[in-house]
C-alpha cells in the first residue's frame, strides 16, 4: 500500500495538467485555423455555403461533446486508422472548437456595417483586399473578447477526453482518487487546478469586454 501525501497528489496532478494545456492549445489553434477557413469560405461563396456551415455549427452545438468524442474515436477506428485517445480527442475538440469559433466570428464580421464593404469596393479593392484591409481589422477587434472567453470552454471541454482514456487532469485525478482513497481531496484539487487555469482567462475576457474596444465605424 502506497501512502499518498498531499504533495504527491499535487505533483501528479500538476504533471497531468501539462496534457490538459497541450490538448487545449491544439484544439484552440486547430479550431481557429479550421474556423477561419470556414469563415473565409462563407464570406467568399455566399449564402449557400453559409447554410451548409450553419448546419455544421448546429450539429456541433446540438449534440453533447462527449458523444462527438466517442464518434471520432469509434469512427476513426472504423476507417482503419490506428487511433490513440490523443488523436481522437484532438480531432473532435478541433472540430468542436471550429464550429463555435466560426459562429462567433461570423457575428463579428456581420457587426461591421455594410457601408464599410461598399466603401472598400468603391475604392476598387478586390474581395481579398476589402477583407484584409477594411473588414477583418474591425471585426477582429470585436472578436477578441468572445474568442478569449471561448478558450475557457475549450479548456473545460478537454476534461471529457478523460472518458476515452486520454490521461489529462481529470483522468489523472480519477486514477489518483482510486489509488489514494481520498476522492474528496483529489477531486477538490482537480477542480482548483482547472479553476486556476480558467479563472484568469475568464478575467482577461471580461476585462477585454469592458474595454471600449474598436467601435466599428
Amino acid at each position: 500500500m502506497v501512502e499518498f501525501t498531499l504533495w504527491d497528489i499535487l505533483r501528479n496532478l500538476a504533471l497531468a495538467l501539462r496534457w490538459t494545456v497541450a490538448l487545449s492549445l491544439i484544439a484552440f489553434i486547430g479550431g481557429g485555423l479550421v474556423g477561419g477557413a470556414l469563415l473565409c469560405l462563407r464570406l467568399a461563396l455566399g449564402r449557400k455555403t453559409g447554410r451548409l456551415i450553419a448546419t455544421y455549427v448546429g450539429l456541433f452545438q446540438g449534440t453533447p461533446l462527449l458523444m462527438q468524442l466517442f464518434l471520432a474515436y469509434f469512427g476513426l477506428a472504423l476507417l482503419g486508422i490506428e487511433v490513440s485517445a490523443w488523436t481522437a480527442a484532438a480531432l473532435a475538440l478541433t472540430l468542436y472548437t471550429s464550429a463555435y469559433l466560426v459562429e462567433i466570428w461570423r457575428g463579428c464580421v456581420e457587426a461591421v456595417p455594410r457601408g464599410q464593404w461598399e466603401a472598400a469596393r468603391s475604392l476598387a479593392m478586390s474581395f481579398g483586399e476589402q477583407l484584409r484591409h477594411v473588414i477583418l481589422p474591425q471585426a477582429m477587434r470585436l472578436a477578441i473578447a468572445p474568442t478569449v472567453g471561448f478558450l475557457v470552454q475549450v479548456i473545460k471541454g478537454t476534461a471529457l477526453a478523460s472518458v476515452i482514456g486520454f490521461v489529462e487532469l481529470t483522468k489523472a485525478g480519477g486514477m489518483i482518487a482510486n489509488a489514494s482513497f481520498q476522492p474528496f481531496l483529489v477531486f477538490g484539487c482537480v477542480a482548483l487546478f482547472y479553476f486556476a487555469l480558467c479563472f484568469p482567462v475568464s478575467l482577461i475576457a471580461q476585462h477585454l469586454e469592458r474595454k471600449p474596444h474598436g467601435r466599428a465605424a
Binding site: 450539429l59 446540438g62 449534440t63 469509434f74 473545460k156 478523460s162 476522492p183 475568464s202
Partner: protein, 223 residues
C-alpha cells in the same frame, strides 16, 4: 469496405427509449431547480448584502470555471467521504442543478441590471414591498430579456447530462454504451444517440422559446 449495421442498434429501441426518458427526466428536475437557484442568486447579486453578494460570486465563478464532469465526480465520489452518500441519479441531478444555477445567476443578473432605476423607484412609490418589487416588477421583464441566452444554457445543461452516464446514471449516452457493449456496433450506437440528442436539442429549444413567454413570464412588458 465498411459496413454499417444500424438495425442491430435500432433493435434495442427499448433501451434507447429508457435512456431518452432519463435524459429528459434529469433535465425536467434540474431546470426548474436551477432556475430557482439562478433567481435567488441573481437577487443576491443585485440587491443582497455585501457578504452574500461575494459568496454568490464565489459560487458562480467556481462553477463556471471548472468542467461539469469534475463537478459531477466531486459530488458523486467526493461527498461520500464526508458521509453524504448519493445515488448516481441524485448526484447527477445535484450537479446539473448547481451548474445551471451558476450560469443562470450570471445570465439573469445581466437582465436585472438592465432594468432602469426608474422601474425600481416607480414600484417602490406604489408601496410595494421589496419582495414584491423584485418578483412582480423587476424579475418578469428580466427573464424576458435574457430568455434566449437562458434557453441556450438550458440546452447546454441537457447535453451535459450525457456525462452523467460516466457515474452509471442510465441516461441516453449510457444506453448507447450499453448497446455497443452488447453488439459491438460502437459507431452506429453512438451515431444513433447523437441523432436523438440533436432532435432533443431542436425540440427543447423550440419548446422553451415558445413556452417561456406563454407561461413563465407571461405578459411582462418590454423592458
Amino acid at each position: 469496405m465498411i459496413e454499417f449495421d444500424f438495425s442491430a442498434v435500432l433493435a434495442e429501441w427499448p433501451l434507447l427509449l429508457r435512456g431518452l426518458a432519463w435524459t429528459v427526466g434529469l433535465t425536467l428536475v434540474a431546470v426548474p431547480l436551477g432556475l430557482l437557484i439562478a433567481t435567488l442568486g441573481a437577487w443576491a447579486r443585485a440587491c443582497g448584502p455585501a457578504a452574500l453578494r461575494r459568496a454568490v460570486g464565489v459560487y458562480v465563478e467556481l462553477l463556471r470555471n471548472t468542467p461539469f464532469i469534475v463537478q459531477l465526480f466531486f459530488v458523486f465520489f467526493g461527498l461520500p467521504s464526508l458521509g453524504v452518500k448519493l445515488s448516481p441519479v441524485t448526484a447527477s441531478m445535484i450537479a446539473m442543478t448547481l451548474n445551471l444555477g451558476a450560469y443562470g445567476t450570471e445570465i439573469l443578473r445581466a437582465g436585472i441590471q438592465a432594468a432602469p432605476r426608474g422601474q425600481w423607484e416607480a414600484a417602490q412609490s406604489l408601496a410595494l414591498g421589496p419582495v414584491q418589487v423584485f418578483t412582480r416588477v423587476i424579475l418578469p421583464p428580466a427573464f424576458k430579456r435574457v430568455w434566449p441566452a437562458m434557453t441556450s444554457q438550458i440546452v447546454i445543461v441537457m447535453l451535459g447530462s450525457a456525462v452523467c452516464g460516466q457515474i452509471s446514471t442510465e441516461e441516453l449516452s449510457y444506453a448507447a454504451n450499453l448497446i455497443h457493449s452488447r453488439n459491438f456496433r460502437a459507431f452506429e450506437a453512438t451515431f444513433v444517440a447523437l441523432a436523438i440528442y440533436l432532435a432533443l436539442t431542436l425540440v427543447l429549444r423550440r419548446f422553451l422559446l415558445w413556452a417561456g413567454p406563454k407561461w413563465f413570464f407571461g405578459g411582462a412588458p418590454r423592458g
